[in-house]
């Protein structure tokens, strides 16, 4: 049973308990002082009260101290640790207090932890005293390495950063979670080069994320100030990778351009589509581009069709690509059909005109036509034969203003001078019809085929001709 005694033994304080005089055989670990309460309610009990009574309380008054005193090697009484409290603010209604835990450090009493209204401070005296929090499994779940000025999480090892977060498995090292339900951005990770605006210059690097394995770095993301001028600020982000033992720019995103492979290394560029692995492929080593292929053999190597709505320039052309007319611009290709119609210039056939068939191919402005009209009607008609219905009007051409092609005229009654003659198909410029001419050997004039040369419902015409479209 504990024994109660006061004011016995050597008096060094107004109330002095000397435990070893209370028992004939004191035992280490036996409590020296027990405050016992038998009250069965829920209120605090027992209560040990250190009370400073003064008529002139003031801020920062020391309010009491618990000292843990032992002897040193010289036999002196030394306070090895203390707990003491202060009144920080004694104003009625807004009182503040503070409690300080101190320990002896190389002969001096140092503050270990200070609990106050404004802050809770560990190691206020800036000693080489680490701070360590254990979790259920980890001895260094939170570790402030005082000597190295580091904060380590889950390790005592200094990894080189101010904050080092270490995992020993594949769990995320750092998770930023945001539970804000509004539409604004969250979570936010900000890298801030926290200097005055006046200290920022063009070219300043303002943040970097490195990807390393041990001492070897393999990639990095770096950001830079291009123009710090307020109102026209420009920035840049550069993603670099280790290429042949050299850190090289893989992708640089600037205010005015985005550049892949800015350091001109042998780094191919490839874009996949939903169905194509090489929808766009830049062969860096050979300076070729492939579309839907990864083995381009020329500057632009395309598998599939291309569409150039404004044409293609061949060779070198000083004209602007937007110029509507240039001599080496191919801007059209089209093929299709047309319906040639055989009639006569003065009077159409009384039994109706005859339609034939025709096909055309237009490359640039060059139109190639092939037509045939068979069993031409000529009864009741007068004038020269004319085949209307060409797909395009013919452009102007120097005198005599004709595009000439070949013709096969079957069952026709030609003049046939006996010296030999031949027929040609002609498209006059600024027109959209074909006429047929017969030229006698040595003659300069053309005799246009007319009703007199055509056998009604018998004569056939086949024409192949090229002309320039308007």
């Amino acid at each position: 049973m504990p024994q109660y005694i006061a004011d016995r033994g050597i008096r060094t304080a107004p109330f002095h308990i000397r435990v070893d005089e209370l028992s004939t055989s004191p035992t280490n670990g036996t409590p020296s002082l027990i405050l016992e309460a038998t009250e069965s309610g829920t209120s605090d009990a027992p209560i040990m009260q250190l009370q400073r009574i003064t008529s002139s309380p003031s801020d920062s008054d020391d309010l009491g101290r618990i000292q843990f005193i032992g002897n040193n090697s010289a036999g002196e009484d030394i306070s090895y640790a203390t707990i003491h409290a202060e009144s920080k603010d004694v104003s009625d209604g807004t009182e503040d207090g503070q409690i300080i835990f101190s320990y002896r450090n190389a002969g001096s009493l140092e503050t270990a932890m200070q609990l106050g209204r404004d802050e809770i401070v560990f190691n206020e005296g800036s000693n080489d005293t680490n701070f360590r929090v254990e979790s259920d499994d980890q001895t260094h779940m939170l570790f402030v390495d005082a000597g190295n000025n580091r904060i380590n999480i889950n390790s005592s090892t200094d990894e080189g950063g101010i904050v080092n977060i270490i995992t020993t498995d594949n769990s995320p090292n750092l998770v930023l979670a945001c539970r804000d339900t509004d539409a604004s951005t969250g979570p936010v990770l900000e890298l801030d080069r926290d200097i005055a605006t006046s200290d920022v210059s063009a070219g300043d690097l303002i943040g970097e994320i490195r990807f390393s394995s041990g001492v070897n770095q393999y990639a990095e993301i770096q950001t830079k100030v291009l123009d710090p001028t307020v109102g026209s600020k420009d920035g840049e982000m550069n993603i670099s990778i280790e290429s042949n033992d050299t850190m090289s720019s893989a992708l640089r995103l600037g205010a005015t351009e985005a550049v892949f492979n800015d350091d001109s290394n042998n780094i191919d560029f490839r874009i996949e589509s939903d169905g194509q692995a090489n929808m766009f492929f830049v062969d860096a080593a050979n300076d070729f581009i492939g579309i839907r292929r990864n083995d381009p053999a020329v500057t632009l190597d395309v598998v599939g069709a291309g569409r150039f709505s404004n044409g293609i320039f061949f060779g070198t052309d000083d004209a602007s690509p937007s110029s509507p007319v240039t001599s080496n611009k191919l801007d059209d290709y089209e093929e299709g059909t047309f319906t040639p119609n055989a009639t006569f210039t003065s009077t159409p056939p009384s039994n109706g005109t005859v339609n034939g068939t025709g096909i055309y191919t237009k490359v640039g402005r060059i139109v190639t036509i092939d037509l045939n009209v068979t069993n031409i009607h000529s009864t009741g008609a007068s004038g020269d034969l004319r085949i209307n219905g060409l797909p395009f009007a013919a452009d102007l051409i120097p005198s005599p203003g004709l595009y000439v092609g070949t013709v096969r005229l079957s069952a026709a009654n030609l003049a046939d001078t006996g010296d030999g003659s031949y027929c040609v198909a002609e498209v006059p410029d600024n027109s959209s019809y074909v006429r047929i001419g017969e030229i006698s050997d040595g003659a300069s004039a053309v005799d246009l085929i007319n009703t007199g040369n055509i056998s009604n419902d018998v004569s056939d015409i086949f024409v192949h001709l090229q002309y320039i479209a308007t």
Binding site: G336, T339, L390, N430, S432
Partner: protein, 81 residues
């Protein structure tokens, strides 16, 4: 699966000194709305052409461009050729 065929005049151009009207008629074959093929047929309406069977759009252009003055000029031009 629905196969449809559309015939449309997809291009009407007025070209040259005598305002030839070039008409392109496209025949479009679609399967479930997806175009499978497109083929072209062309004809040209000259100032002296019979436009009575042309589409309303073409006739409107004929009316606008093929004026009596133009037709007369075209006829004179033809004589020289």
């Amino acid at each position: 699966m629905a196969i449809t065929k559309e015939i449309i005049q997809d291009k009407i151009e007025v070209v040259g000194d005598f305002k030839h009207i070039q008409v392109r008629t496209a025949t479009v074959i679609k399967e479930d709305g997806v175009e499978l093929s497109r083929s072209y047929h062309r004809h040209t309406v000259a100032p002296d052409s019979d436009s009575s069977k042309e589409s309303a759009d073409v006739q409107a252009m004929v009316k606008q461009f093929h004026t009596d003055e133009l037709k007369k000029a075209f006829a004179e031009y033809q004589k020289d050729r």
